[in-house]
Symmetry: C2
Subunit: 165 residues, 2 copies
């Protein structure tokens, strides 16, 4: 099952014993409304994210001044993440804040990435450290963005066997 | 840049104007120590995650009874996420809890996936709703796992144009 791919409702029949095959894990970032739009601009400027699409909040369109974002899809490298306005009405995607999740980004030049993120409005957290393996090895630094999300920025591991086995 | 892939330190030279190309976004789940090992078992049972590797916390090996997990890599569909023991000493991957992040999983059979997750120890949150587009359309349900993480489980969108444009 490791290399199996299932896309857009096309289930690989017979290859698995049931239909419980997840296709992907996408982090959804819940930003206090109505700042999701600002946050998307920030992720474009800080990390070079591309916006693939945006679905607006239907209940907010008619009777509210600011249209809210139900879900915007952003692409970064080979991954997709979602950004949503977090409201406190029942139609919000989730009322609960996420607990204990940070997002790890891999990049060759950790220093430059942190400088760029900070210039876009993020705050550096701690020092850049060498090879403690959090993201699989290499250099590791952290920034906190203006919306409270912590991004761990690390370079790829140069050697795969250098772990604490 | 949309389809570009950069793997393991092999930077595509000349294709971009700088080296600031991220290869991936990986959520890192910070679990109160020493429960990361339990959490990994839960993610295997509840979602069928596969463990790709595990790096132990070096400072805890000699002088602590329980070896802590610095970072374990779990694979789910085409995505990878990380699970770590969150400690309060300086070598912890992050002292800050993540703010406002939930994880979206795509699967054909949302009902069955929620039943399986609940039988493994998760708690269902709210009702399953139809096509509100949070993960791109389809059916959407939510569970909270025993470690505080909220998982949004949704089926793929059947039609791409059915959004609130």
């Amino acid at each position: 099952m490791a290399q199996q791919e299932v896309h857009n409702g096309e289930v690989a029949k017979g290859a698995v014993t049931d239909a419980l095959v997840f296709t992907s894990v996408k982090p959804q970032l819940l930003v206090e409304a109505p700042k999701a739009s600002d946050a998307i601009q920030f992720y474009k400027a800080a990390f070079g994210a591309e916006e693939l699409g945006r679905t607006m909040h239907p209940k907010r369109k008619a009777d509210q001044e600011l249209p809210l974002i139900l879900s915007a899809q952003l692409k970064l490298g080979g991954s997709t993440f979602l950004v949503s306005d977090l409201t406190h009405d029942s139609a919000a995607p989730a009322k609960t804040e996420g607990a204990g999740i940070v997002l790890c980004l891999e990049i060759e030049d950790v220093n430059a990435a942190i400088v760029k993120a900070v210039s876009a409005g993020a705050v550096a957290v701690g020092e850049i450290e060498e090879g403690d393996g959090v993201c699989g090895g290499g250099r590791v630094g952290k920034v906190k963005d203006p919306y409270g999300i912590v991004w761990v920025i690390c370079s790829p591991a140069l050697k795969s066997a250098d772990v604490d086995a």
